[in-house]
Amino acid sequence: MTTTTGDRDTDLIKVKLFGISTEIVGKREMTVRVPVGTTVGNLKKKITKMYPSLDVVNIPFVFAVNHRVVSEDVPVTHLDEIAILPPVSGG
């Protein structure tokens, strides 16, 4: 959802959580308000600021956007499906 707060456009982005990140944050999905046109890298900075323990345990997590792992310069909006993916351990 895009809203205008004062003169600044913001976007409310949902982020799915898996594995250890679910336990650190305490839920399976979080919402983060970011400036419109934000990137995965900025989203990551904001989330680690909101949940410093994600950073403390130093989990090398990556982001998936629409089911693909992407680099931090990729822009995201509320229309994208975004997920935090800790290191995988299937098998």
Binding site: S71, P87, S89, G90, G91
Partner: protein, 139 residues
Amino acid sequence: MIRITDNAIDLNKILIDISDNSAGAITLFVGTVRDHNSHGHVSALYYEAYKKMAEDIMAEIEKEVLRKWNIIKFSATHRIGNLKVREISVAVAVSSEHRNESFEACKYGIDNIKTRVPIWKKEYSDASENWVTGVSLHE
């Protein structure tokens, strides 16, 4: 054939699915829950998947296998949820005319499932529970 399931994995069904009149070999890899890790006893495992993405990546791996080797059918099934010791967590099966192709393709399948598919496991012991830190995903 790709599947992520909450139910027990039926190996007989997989072998029937993978069989083919032109196949002279079937290789089946079965991953099971071990009662220990490098730190000690493990009593159970819990598996969680990002299901849609996991199925997409497993389908990609299937395509790669079919492109790289002259095989007939490929099957990969991963279970999620709570599993006890000895239960089957993953099964990869390949049928081919001759055995070498199916051995190699099956190894490629399970190796890539373990390192590329968004599935996570938590180990339970009598005293603790820990998410297993595995492999970081890449673009």
